[in-house]
Amino acid sequence: MEKDNLRKEIKDFIIETFLFGDEAESLQDSDSFMQNGIVDSTGILEVTNFIEEKYNINIENEEMTPNNLDSVENLVNFIVRKTNG
């Protein structure tokens, strides 16, 4: 999967879902969603729902970690690993 496209799709989803489409809110690829108050624990469920459905992957319980899910960059790397693995 092409990383740049993936990055854009995820960023668009985060901006549309949690920032109500406000692109003026600067979201860096490495920004933690939780620490920056963009997403709470319920929001993480929205993120996992989105990537499971969109990329047809199954996230295991032990994969529900900030290292995998808590920034645009972490999500991109996680999805690439899952789809390639």
Binding site: M34, G37, D40, S41, T42, I44, L45, E46, T48, N49, N61, E62, M64, T65, P66, N67, L69
Partner: protein, 320 residues
């Protein structure tokens, strides 16, 4: 200096201080004649009821038991034992009919069936979170557990939609309890005393306008382990003190540790105290016999919950 006794309180002094405050809050600030408390046979409501009985006199205290379909039978027995011990009146107001009218069980079961199609009302259910939060830096995702009469069980991580519907429908229970308590309070011109402790209040383990809806919250600043100390001092029946804290909301018994906190009360409260007092993780680790990494995960988990549940503690927002 952070040590194993950092959360020890002088129960006599704390009791005197709380009783004085309860009296002035109810009599002078709220201008009410007594206190109504929802009693579940749990440690928190027992301590609040005992404090109110001591502060106001037992004749100015009413305990209300509010059973519904999923309540433990122990709740009523222990609540009556509590009322008997402290000499206040206890009444029973079932909320089962009201919840049925609101389709609480139907809506919850519909959401559970969307995850497990074989589920019907003969199965028991509960929601849990990971309880290994010190071992791994994990998000607090929710797992649905169901069990049938033969003891066969199934678990699955809850998808967002089902999770939200289960929580929204079971929150009707706490909101109907609040409505019931206010009926009893208003007809006497009394106040409703909330029973949440600091762990629940600050980490958001309550329902906004449900059990969070009260006129005063006398123990909202006390850690759970301190509530236990007060319970012993006040003479709360031993059986209540020894009872494992549960939510008393789901048909399958679920402890507060597995439903919400993910950690035993001693470690959670000590870690929280250490975090609040800027105790370096290395130092807290030595006292608690944990690793530095475990302490850091504990600090992060507690902080995350406090931040994520801030809206629960907010009054309705007004335009400035």
């Amino acid at each position: 200096m952070f040590n194993k006794d950092s959360l020890k309180i002088d129960s006599q002094k704390v009791t005197e201080y709380l009783c004085q405050n309860i009296l002035t809050q109810i009599r002078d600030k709220l201008k009410k004649g007594g206190a109504v408390i929802g009693i579940s046979g749990g440690i928190d409501s027992s301590v609040v009821a005992a404090l109110c009985a001591r502060a106001l006199g037992p004749k100015r205290v009413l305990g209300v038991m509010m059973p519904e379909k999923d309540s433990s039978p122990d709740s009523k027995r222990l609540a009556l034992k509590l009322a008997d011990t402290f000499g206040f009146e206890a009444i029973e107001e079932s909320i089962y009919g009201g919840l049925s009218g609101l389709k609480c069980y139907e809506k919850r079961d519909e959401a559970i069936k969307s995850v497990f199609p074989e589920y019907d009302s003969s199965w028991k259910s509960k929601i849990t979170i990971p309880t290994n939060i010190l071992e791994k830096d994990s998000f607090n995702f929710f797992t649905l557990f169901i069990e049938n009469e033969k003891g066969e069980s199934k678990t699955k991580r809850l998808p967002l939609k089902a999770y939200l519907q289960i929580v929204a429908s079971t929150n009707l229970k706490q909101r109907l309890r609040m409505t019931t308590l206010y009926y009893q309070a208003e007809k006497r011109n009394w106040a409703v005393a909330g029973t949440g402790n600091k762990d629940e209040h600050m980490q958001g383990f309550f329902v906004k306008y449900g059990d969070g809806g009260a006129d005063l919250k006398p123990i909202a600043h006390l850690f759970k382990v301190q509530v236990y100390q007060l319970a012993k001092y006040l003479g709360v029946p031993q059986e209540i003190i020894e009872r494992t804290p549960t939510t008393d909301t789901y048909s399958a018994e679920v402890t507060q540790e597995e439903f919400f906190f993910g950690l035993d009360f001693y470690h959670m409260d000590m870690l929280w105290y250490a975090m609040e007092h800027d105790v370096p993780p290395e130092e807290a680790a030595k006292v608690l016999n944990l690793t530095k990494e475990q302490v850091e995960r504990g600090y992060a988990n507690i902080k995350r919950k406090i931040v994520a549940t801030e809206y629960l503690r907010m009054a309705p927002l007004e335009i400035e």
